[in-house]
Every structure is written in C-alpha cells, then in structure tokens.
C-alpha cells in the first residue's frame, strides 16, 4: 500500500555561481544548510534544498517561512549575480510513503530507483508518466517527495490513482 499525501509547502528557485564562495556562504548563512553541490543530492535542515543543476537549486520549506527566507537570501546575496524566485504557487508537493514506492514509480519513470543506486538524500529530475518531476528520497521510512508543476498535478494524481491502491491525504506542515 502506498500512501500519497499532498503537502502544502513553499518553493524557492535559486540560481547562482556554485564556484563563488560568497554565494555558498551566503546561502548557508541565509538558510542554515549547506549548499548541495554534488549532482542529484539534497541537503536538509529545517528546510530542504535540492540540487537541480550546476547553477540551480530549489528550496522546499514551510509555506509561511517563504517570505522570510526570500528576504534572507536576497539580503545575503545582495551584490551577486543571482536569481531568486518564489515558485510556491507553481509547484505541488506529494509525499509517497511505503515500501512499494520505487516499484510504483518504475511504471512510468526511467530512473533506476533501486535503493542501492538511489538512496536517502538522493534526488533527480526526470519524467513520471508524461509530467516532469523532481523526486527526492527524503526519509528512510521510505518516503519520497515528488514535486510537479501545478498545471500537471491533476494529471499526475490521476495517474497515481490509476496505478496504485493508494490513500490520499492532505497535510500542511
């Protein structure tokens, strides 16, 4: 049984130069976590930060903290060439819990999600069915976080509903 929860979270997209110490330090100071520079990994404290590309990250945090975090980031990176965008309205976060999740995702995702390859703290952007998604393995329980664009979320939920006997819940955190 896979449990699917839709979670109200906030999202910040961040672009900057990972090679610039001022940037990494600024991010760490603002968010209280290490900038993940290894591809396909995430780092976590009170919020999660996903590596999306060599100069792109995504912060996932409590929705109510987003304005504060935005401000902190802007202040910490004020003189740098960066791009900070609130994407909270454009993303839907799902948490999939249960031992069968990799099996379920394998029906429509070409990533190798075998735990020996894709462990806790790993993440990847890929396709799930016909939607683009960001998948993070966030808890050994196991829990997988799936982030999808809002306009594709109904489609993705439909796909999940058809492909798993899942319980849907919503939660705010």
């Amino acid at each position: 049984m896979t449990e699917v929860k839709r979670i109200d979270l906030g999202h910040i997209n961040l672009r900057g130069d990972a090679g610039d110490d001022r940037f990494a330090d600024g991010v760490e100071a603002a968010l209280g976590l290490t900038l993940p520079v290894d591809p396909n990994t995430l780092s976590e404290s009170d919020h999660r930060m996903y590596w999306l590309g060599p100069d792109e990250w995504q912060v996932v945090a409590d929705r109510k903290n987003v304005p504060v975090l935005l401000k902190k980031l802007e202040d910490a990176l004020v003189d740098q060439h960066v791009s900070i965008n609130d994407l909270s309205g454009g993303q839907v976060t799902l948490h999939l819990a249960g031992a069968d999740v990799p099996e379920l995702l394998a029906k429509a995702c070409t990533l190798d999600l075998h735990p020996s390859v894709f462990g806790v703290g790993d993440c990847a952007q890929s396709g799930l069915a016909k939607a683009n998604v960001l998948i993070g393995y966030i808890d050994v329980a196991p829990v997988y976080e799936i982030i999808v664009r809002r306009s594709f979320s109904e489609y993705l939920l439909r796909w999940l509903r058809q492909n798993s006997h899942f319980q849907v819940g919503t939660a705010s955190s």
Binding site: P39, G53, T110, L111, Q125, S126, G127
Partner: protein, 92 residues
C-alpha cells in the same frame, strides 16, 4: 532508446533529453555583411554526416543544460559527452 550521459546529471534515458542539431554553428558576427548565399549557408546548410557527428542535446527533463555529444549516426554509439565550455574547438 539511447542512453545519454548528461555531463552534469549522469546517464539518463533519451526521453529526458531534446536534440539540438549540429554543434559548433557560430552565429555570424555581422549578418548584414554576408551575402544571401552565405546567410543561407548559416541558416540551412548542415554537415549531416554518415558517421561521427558532434551535436547538441539539452537535458530537458533534468538540469536544462545544453551540452555536446559526439555520436556515430550509423551505429548510434556515443563516444563523448561534454559540457559546452570544454573542447571549445567546435567554435573555430
């Protein structure tokens, strides 16, 4: 289905990528100095080789970075996959 190595994200299925055509076509510095024929050459004429081809791909479902792939157009074997900034020789 090809297996393409994104220089940033690693090997992924072809479906995560989009093809961008021949690499190394440089936009003329001053298009208006070109004859119509020279402009047409830039716009439309392509190497289209039977054999090794240096081409652009973007990891569209991943990191959205463009990169350069050397691929044999007959065997489809990929011999290299590099960031654009590396091997800048493509832009003579």
């Amino acid at each position: 289905m090809l297996l393409i190595s994104c220089p940033y994200c690693g090997a992924r299925a072809e479906t995560e990528f989009s093809y961008g055509g021949e690499a190394g076509i440089e936009r003329p510095k001053d298009p208006h100095a070109l004859s119509d024929a020279e402009w047409a050459d830039y716009l439309f004429m392509r190497k289209n080789p039977r054999g090794l081809h240096t081409e652009l791909w973007i990891h569209a479902q991943g990191c959205r970075r463009w990169f350069k792939v050397e691929r044999d157009t007959v065997s489809y074997k990929i011999t290299s996959s590099r960031e654009l900034s590396l091997g800048a020789s493509e832009k003579e």
